[in-house]
Symmetry: C2
Subunit: 326 residues, 2 copies
């Protein structure tokens, strides 16, 4: 691997964009039951902090998920979004995530001209790329900017990744995301994967994004590693709020980036005013030993999430049980 | 920077040694008031886990620090150590840290033949190198392996670091440590500094160590970054216990290293049996927003430690006050 790092620690790359995924990945911690006041404060914080994209949640199918059981940010109905952001007079773009197989695309995603949403991010596993491409084509046809998050690539073989990147290269996706769903990748692996994604990105004129998880306390480190090689869409969540061990914390990322358009103080204020109360209400996320263990074994965090929820602190027994399952 | 990374993610480098600094850096969180039972369990855990060195604490001068106010691991009297480890029949080596200006060397460090201690680590700031060299010479003359931890190099200028490495190269130190006291270094900086330290290390036949702090959730990432370029002495503490934001967690490091001599389960058991009770007693360490802010500003963590102790959660105000001080 030659030195192809981009930019320096004192300069900034204007191509870098920050995406706040707090409502979306963080919503996995509280069934998306954020208050309107929280969402509005987050929106205002992101605008003040110079964040480039704010992800409002999922576009989940109401045939598959009961709206009585989940907060509105699981569904992101247009009127619900407009209640938070009005017609979004800010320069910040809004995104929603649509999962392959869990979205009722034609019913729930209308034309861009009737929506405050700017970008649809399609999430899929590597075996679902053709379905993702169909969704990307549909959303691009409706006038949206699009991105695709190929989840759990730490489980994929090299030739699968190459084939996926070829297919996605030929899709309308504006951005292809490297996603470390299990928080199992080390920075050296992130660097190699980023370079591989960038190769496809350069060939097909797409930007590359990074979405990291903090199972091994590497979410921030892996995010800036990917950025240093050329990834330009960087996902973060306030206080790292996200499923299991959570994500790259926005406060660390904005503390690192040198572009003067980013501002840390609004994030710090939000941590005090909104995130501490959320934790005090009992919403749980962030690094804990069980997440390290699923991350280290390159496994889905579900067992670790259950372990933490049950208050099971027999880490040695939990690790043994994981290894028997693996 | 060419690709001079050493080893691969699947192999292991036999030159890598792990040092457990829980009693020493962790002692800064509880005034070294660990019980003998805790210290003995930690010793047994380290032996079972295959850890190479265990640091028992400081050799602090009793003229400067009141033994009534601190636990025994601040002083590491020979009889106190032997009460924990007997004559240390294990292959694991024991170390103590001696601070420049805070150690009564001739009174407190006798000949190696009368001690279970194998290595003395001298800690100094970059302006104190000549005093550190004197201490290294004394300790080496007494028969000890020696290492030197030059603290807070993130504040030092390049030419100061070069001069320090020259002087330490000519000293008897067996190992020179890169120390990120303020948790302010990013992995790219760690890589560059590691290569600079290694250059001196190769010239003078010394190994290079890394001691990281977790202010920006980079202690583990920076440790494996340094290791990947050739650093071979890796400091960790159980659960990351250490001053302020703490250190590289042993459970992450041993989960990463591939040498089959290392074993994670004893560490997991220790987390359950010893570290959870310690936290439950109210001992506080680990990542928190104020530490990120001093780390980001490359400042000593003392203000952040006070902020956390006071339960001050006005992060924005704290950040503003830090910037005014800086």
């Amino acid at each position: 691997m030659e030195n192809k790092r981009k930019g320096s620690l004192l300069s900034f790359r204007p191509d870098i964009k920050v995406l706040d995924a707090t409502l979306r990945d963080g919503g996995l911690c509280n069934d998306f039951k954020f208050s309107d006041a929280f969402a509005r404060a987050l929106y205002e914080m992101n605008v003040a902090a110079g964040v480039d994209y704010m992800e409002m949640g999922y576009k989940a199918s109401k045939a598959l998920f009961d709206p009585e059981k989940f907060g509105k940010f699981k569904f992101c109905d247009e009127d619900a979004l407009q209640k938070i952001v009005g017609d979004n007079p800010s320069p910040m773009k809004l995104s929603v995530m649509a999962d392959v197989g869990r979205t009722d695309l034609k019913r729930d995603i209308g034309g861009k001209k009737d929506s405050v949403v700017d970008m649809v991010r399609v999430a899929c596993y590597i075996t679902e790329i053709p379905a993702a491409v169909e969704m990307l084509e549909y959303c691009a046809g409706q006038g949206y900017e699009t991105a695709v998050n190929v989840m759990a690539v730490s489980k994929a073989r090299d030739e699968e990744i190459d084939a996926a990147l070829e297919m996605l290269g030929q899709s309308p996706a504006d951005c292809i995301y490297l996603v470390d769903s299990y928080g199992s990748l080390y920075p050296e692996q992130v660097a190699r994967l980023t370079l591989r994604y960038l190769e496809a990105g350069e060939k097909y004129h797409k930007s590359i994004g990074i979405h990291a998880h903090n199972n091994q306390q590497l979410a921030f480190g892996n995010t800036i590693e990917a950025a240093s090689w050329g990834a330009s869409m960087l996902d973060a969540t306030v206080n790292g709020m996200g499923r299991g061990a959570g994500n790259c914390p926005m406060e660390l990322l904005l503390g690192f980036l040198k572009n003067p358009k980013y501002h840390l103080p609004p994030v710090l204020r939000f941590l005090t005013d909104q995130m501490l109360p959320l934790r005090a209400q009992g919403v749980v996320w962030g690094y804990d030993v069980p997440y390290l263990l699923t991350g280290r074994l390159n496994m889905h965090p579900s067992a670790a999430i259950a372990c933490v929820r049950q208050g099971n602190t027999d880490y040695e027994g939990f690790y043994r049980a994981l290894q028997e399952k693996d």
